[in-house]
Symmetry: C2
Subunit: 195 residues, 2 copies
DNA sequence: CCTACCGATCGGTAGG
DNA sequence: CCTACCGATCGGTAGG
């Protein structure tokens, strides 16, 4: 593949990502994508075989980013709570860095056909297991309270994953501020200390 | 309208709700809905004018439930933190009581056409404002820490709204247990007390 | 609630 | 990357 063709493919993926995030996969036609690129629908098929390939590549790229951000932290020898703090910062960074990528990742995977959907959810579960492992270690080390491990993991993931819904690049908070505030609220709780 | 016709309409709405929750609005055809009811697609239009009417009625019913659960608590004269505790329990109850309704509520509203989408998001914002009002009062009364009010509200809402993703009627936790655990984690935080 | 049908749009292909 | 087109499916309607 030539460099130019590779670049065109990246434009195609970025265009599809934006439209899938804004309207959803099913509501986005190949003609919508082509029009946004100023080409004809049939021309897309010089780059892909099916519309689902676009979704699959976007979802795979998103999963790759989350793992690339988390893996070095998980494998480090930091204490569990510091691992958790850094993982939250890294995860939030991935989301704020590509809010439309995150939106597709959270919402559109169920439109994959069976085999790919199974592979996707397996990776998602594996990521959840990484977070859960840190939570478990934190409970054992005594840094975290004696929590329901699975429930706490879901609370952490859900609070992070909701961010793409309201985050705006031109909003008042930087990604780091978001991560810091979230970590503090999750760790310390909403109650006034001593109340 | 006869009672029989009203009952058929309820079946239609319940069927659409299930399918919209499972596959998404756009991926569900009127033929899918008709087939699930063992009738022909054209027959649906004895009950509705457009497919979007189904989505709109489901979303309106969902919003009604959330407000019906929250309003008496908001208008009570309980202390802010107790209000928040009860609101979380009531909100979780609505979600666990109808996980597919909640799924449609969270995911499918963006497929509404402009006017209805605007009305929907306005109601959603109004609900968020209810929660935020309690959070504000809790901060002022000193029951809650000196939090970023909006951020804390989003944390509470996101942690509640994620529940439909994993809740199963035959799972190990009752709705009350979920609400209790969630409240405790949100209020006390994940860190070991004194750590 | 059914039969029979409408125009529009869908994802995708052949040949250039 | 385009033109021209394919069969399938879409939401919806008329008349019974």
């Amino acid at each position: 593949m030539t460099e130019v063709a590779a670049a065109r493919r990246d434009v195609l993926l970025a265009t599809a990502e934006q439209l899938f995030a804004a309207r959803g996969y099913q509501a986005t036609s190949v003609r919508d994508i082509a029009e946004a690129m100023d080409i004809k629908a049939g021309s897309l098929y010089a780059h892909i075989e099916t519309k689902e390939d676009l979704l699959w590549e976007i979802l795979t790229a998103a999963a790759d980013r989350f793992f690339a951000a988390a893996d070095p932290i998980v494998e480090s020898d930091l204490l569990p709570m510091e691992k958790l703090r850094q993982l939250i910062a890294a995860h939030v960074q991935v989301i704020t860095d590509g809010a439309s990528l995150a939106a597709v990742y959270m919402n559109e995977w169920r439109h994959l056909t069976d085999l790919r959907r199974t592979e996707f959810t397996a990776r998602r579960d594996a990521y959840e297991a990484l977070v859960r492992g840190i939570v478990r270690d934190g409970i054992r080390s005594g840094e975290l309270a004696d929590l329901d491990e699975k429930f706490a993991t879901l609370l952490i993931l859900s609070s992070m994953n909701w961010i793409y819904q309201w985050y705006r690049t031109d909003g008042p908070m930087t990604p780091d501020e978001i991560a810091r505030k979230l970590t503090e609220m999750l760790f310390k709780g909403l109650r006034r200390a001593g109340a």
